[in-house]
Symmetry: C2
Subunit: 312 residues, 2 copies
C-alpha cells in the first residue's frame, strides 16, 4: 500500500528502515516498477534477509546499531533528501496495508470474525492494522462482533505489553484512560525473534489501544519458549516459521497453561515469516547434525541410539 | 507419494539421501504421522536446508562427501536395517510424485499442455516425472499434443545432457536408439546450483528418453549465468529462487540468444526452490551491503553514487 502511494505522490526514491521482512517486500515491489529503493537494516540482520534485499536490487545500508538506530537515521535521511519514507508506523499507509490481514482472516473463516487473534508485536503496526481492519468490517456491517486481540511479545521487547498493564492499572483505579496521556517507555530489546526486537514501538499507542479496546491481553514469552515453539510449529503443523512468528505459538501455550483457553472458541494465530529467514533459532534448539565418513560402519555407529529407539 | 507408500508397506523408518529439498519434504510429512525419518546430506549442504531438516525433527547425518556418496550410503544403510529408502529415482514412487507437476501445469493453463517446458535436471527425476504426467494426460485423451521438454543443467553437472547428445549422434547416423545400450557416463559435478550437483543421475536414462521422445533439447549454463539469473528472476518476476531453479531462466535466455524462441509459443519454466535455501548465489552476485555508523553524514557519504544516479 505504501509503495503505490509513494508513486502517486511523485516520489523518485523510497526508503525504509527494517529488520528485513518489510524491506524485502518493499524492494520487490519497487523493482517491479523500476523505482530506486534504499533499505536501512541493523548490521546484525540475518544473512538470508540481507540476501533477499540484495537480490531485489535494493540499495542496502547496514547500520552499526539496532533497528531503532536504523529507523531514526532513515527519518533524517528522507527529510534531507526529500525521499518518501516507508518506515513502519511513521508512514500511515503501512497500517492500511496491514489491515487487509483482517479481511483475509474474515474471508477465509467464511465471512466471520474469530473469537481471538494472537498477533506478534514489535512496532505494533500489525496489531493496530488488524484492529483497524476488524473495526472497519464492523462499521460496514459485515461482522456483528469484534475479536479480542492478544499482543504476543518477546520478554525483552515488551514495551507495548508494559504499557497495556499500565493502562489496565489506571482503569482498575477507576479513571478512564486518556490516550493522550499514555506514555510508552522504551525498553532494551534483545531477543532471538529479530523481527520483533524494538526498543521504542513506532505504532505503540495504537497497539495498546487495540488490546484495551478489544478487551484482549498482552503476553510475553522467553527466548527459550520461542526456540522450542519453532520446532513445535514445524512438527505439528508442517509450517517452518521464523522465531518472530513462533512467538504466537508460545503465547498460545501460555493461554492453555493459564486455563484461559475455551475449547469452543475460534482462535487465529498470525505466523508472519518463513523459518528460512532466520535459521539461528533452529540451530539453538537442535543438536547439530552428526558429521560422518561415507561408510556403513560410521553411519551405523552414529545412528546407534536412534535405531534402538526406532526399532522398538 | 513415497511417504504414504512406505506406511502402507508397514515400514518403521524411512530414509533418504538428499541435497536438501526432497529431504525437507520427507521430514515434514514423516513428522505429520510420527514416523522416524533419517536424512543423509552432503556435509556441504547449505545451512538453511540443514535447519529445516532439524526443525522437522529428522535424524540428520552429514556425510563427508558429495550427494552421490550420501546416496550410496543410504542404499547400504536401508538394505542393512530393512528401512524404506526414498532415494530419488531408486524409489519408483518419487516419479509418481513428480508427475503431478504436469497435472498442475495442465490445470493452471486452462486444461492445456504448453508448447515447451524448461526443467532443471540433476538426478533427472523431475523431468522424467513431468514426461510421465504429460504422456498419461495424452493417454487419457485430456491433451492432444505433448510439450517439448528442455533439460536445463549446470555446466559441470551435465551427465544427462551429454547422453542426450550421444543418442542424437546415434540417431543422426541412422540407427534407432536402443535404450538398453545407452550408458550415462558419470561427471564431476561442482556447481553453485547445489540441488543439481549430481555425478551419476539416478533417473538419468528416463530423463534422456523424456528429452529425445519429446523432441526437446538439452542445454547447460555456467555458474556465472546462474548467479546472474537469480537476480534477474527476482527483479523481473518478484520470485526469489535458489540457484538450482534459476538454471531454467538462464536456459531461457540461451534459447532467446539461439533464436529458437517463438514469440507465439507457450513456454513454462519450472522454478523448484526458494532463494532463502541457498543464499550463497546472491552473495556471489551482489556487492555486500555498506556498513555505516548510525549518522546522517555516514549515510550520505555511502549513498553518494546512488543519489547522483537516482536524482537524475
Amino acid at each position: 500500500v505504501a509503495r503505490p502511494r509513494a508513486r502517486e505522490a511523485g516520489a523518485r526514491v523510497i526508503a525504509a528502515a527494517t529488520t528485513g521482512n518489510a524491506g524485502t517486500s518493499l524492494a520487490c515491489l519497487a523493482a517491479s516498477v523500476g523505482m530506486p529503493c534504499v533499505v536501512l537494516v541493523p548490521a546484525s540482520a540475518p544473512e538470508a534477509k540481507l540476501s533477499q534485499l540484495l537480490a531485489y536490487g535494493a540499495q542496502v545500508l547496514a547500520v552499526k546499531g539496532n533497528y531503532d538506530a536504523a529507523y531514526d537515521l532513515c527519518v533524517e535521511l528522507c527529510r534531507r533528501l526529500g525521499w518518501v519514507n516507508r518506515n513502519t508506523g511513521l508512514n500511515p499507509f503501512t497500517r492500511e496495508g496491514k489491515k487487509t490481514c483482517s479481511f483475509e482472516i474474515w474471508e477465509q473463516l467464511g465471512r466471520q470474525a474469530p473469537d481471538r487473534i494472537v498477533v506478534p508485536v514489535g512496532d505494533g503496526n500489525i496489531i493496530s492494522g488488524i484492529w483497524k481492519g476488524m473495526t472497519e468490517l464492523r462499521a460496514l456491517g459485515l461482522v456483528d462482533r469484534l475479536p479480542r486481540l492478544v499482543c504476543a511479545q518477546a520478554a525483552s521487547s515488551d514495551a507495548v505489553s508494559r504499557a497495556v498493564r499500565a493502562v489496565r492499572g489506571i482503569q482498575a483505579s477507576g479513571a478512564p484512560p486518556t490516550w493522550a496521556d499514555v506514555r510508552i517507555e522504551p525498553v532494551q530489546a534483545d531477543t532471538i525473534a529479530d523481527s520483533l526486537a524494538v526498543d521504542r514501538p513506532r505504532d505503540g499507542l495504537a497497539a495498546v489501544r487495540a488490546v484495551i479496546e478489544s478487551r484482549g491481553e498482552a503476553l510475553t514469552v522467553t527466548d527459550g519458549e520461542i526456540v522450542a515453539a519453532v520446532a513445535e510449529v514445524a512438527t505439528t503443523t508442517g509450517l517452518f516459521v521464523e522465531p518472530a512468528a513462533a512467538v504466537t505459538w508460545a503465547c498460545l501455550k501460555r493461554l492453555a497453561r493459564n486455563g484461559t483457553l475455551d475449547p469452543a472458541e475460534r482462535l487465529v494465530l498470525i505466523l508472519t515469516g518463513s523459518g528460512l529467514k532466520n535459521v539461528a533459532a533452529v540451530r539453538a534448539a537442535a543438536p547439530p547434525p552428526t558429521v560422518i565418513e561415507p561408510t556403513l560402519p560410521a553411519a551405523l555407529a552414529a545412528l546407534q541410539g536412534f535405531t534402538r529407539s526406532a526399532q522398538k
